[in-house]
Symmetry: C2
């Protein structure tokens, strides 16, 4: 009656990500991966122009990547950040990426989180959020970031989540423009 | 490298929901299902004390149920509302439950949505949100509703989503207390 719901990363992701032992020393290195995931997602036609990734801050290795799969998975919650959280928790085997004994982990998002992904960030257990393009860069091409707390950054900081913004913002925003210029669907829901 | 992520409803749900042609004429009827799902989820030990469901407002039939699967699916985003949205979109075959030509649909939640589920509501395409227990009833047993907009109700109304609150609030809140009294895990993330 209610068939199961499955999420799979597009086939190109694993190949693109490559060596699982690769170290990403700086937040720019880590953001570069998220931005390249957003670009590849557009080029491969596998979803919207958003990429994300979760890293282990001790080893500086990737835990899981995420790309926007809304249109291809047929699921409005499959934003890049949510996909990265689901795959990271699957990889780690826990719903709490910040559980006792676990290394601190970081969520890197090619664009600042929408209202949903913002709300999901504290539940994920990450200790740090790194953002590339700003909300206004997403809005500039017609995407809606939703009804977010005006002081969303402080709300995360108050919950012990460090926020770093504008990391490779120009590169991240250029993928948004590339998507819009190539006629990508702006798929805000409830279009009826 | 990144195994797929699957969500399955617990086995008892399908049997409990029963006849797919059943009609739920009033919002109390629809809330009763969500509250009973929350209670059954506790009794069966399949997750936290939260239930949800999405209904077709033309036929008044169930589109998909949802229960909280955070601890059992090992995923912090598997709140009851998110699960109902994922299964409803899977059932309907679209990431937009409010797409052109689709009937209006309603999300019924046994407790008011947390910050994440609030943010997910506009993306889902539903036209109406019905809530049972209040945020403060969830907080009273130690659950965190996250950094929500103080005027979250108006923010949804402004987006064309009608909000109805306090529907069977007493019954819904009693399930929360039952969960706490029976020693259920209060699993807010980042406990490390």
């Amino acid at each position: 009656m209610f068939p199961e719901v499955n999420f799979e990363l597009p086939g190109w992701v694993e190949e693109f990500v490559g060596d699982p032992d690769r170290v990403y020393p700086t937040e720019e290195d880590r953001m570069r991966l998220a931005v390249e995931l957003s670009r590849m997602n557009v080029e491969n036609g596998t979803g919207g122009p958003f990429g994300a990734a979760i890293f282990d801050l001790e080893t500086k290795r990737l835990v899981a990547p995420g790309v926007n799969l809304v249109t291809t998975a047929g699921c409005s919650i499959a934003h890049a950040e949510m996909v990265a959280i689901m795959f990271a928790q699957r990889a780690v085997g826990s719903f709490d990426l910040g559980a006792p004994g676990e290394p601190p982990r970081e969520l890197v998002a090619s664009t600042e989180p929408c209202a949903m992904c913002f709300g999901a960030t504290p539940w994920s257990g990450v200790r740090r959020l790194v953002c590339g393009a700003r909300d206004e860069d997403a809005r500039a091409i017609g995407f809606d970031e939703g009804p977010k707390l005006p002081d969303w950054e402080s709300a995360l900081e108050e919950r012990g989540i460090e926020v770093s913004r504008d990391v490779l913002r120009g590169e991240a925003a250029s993928v948004l423009r590339f998507y819009a210029e190539s006629g990508g669907a702006i798929y805000n829901s409830r279009e009826g």
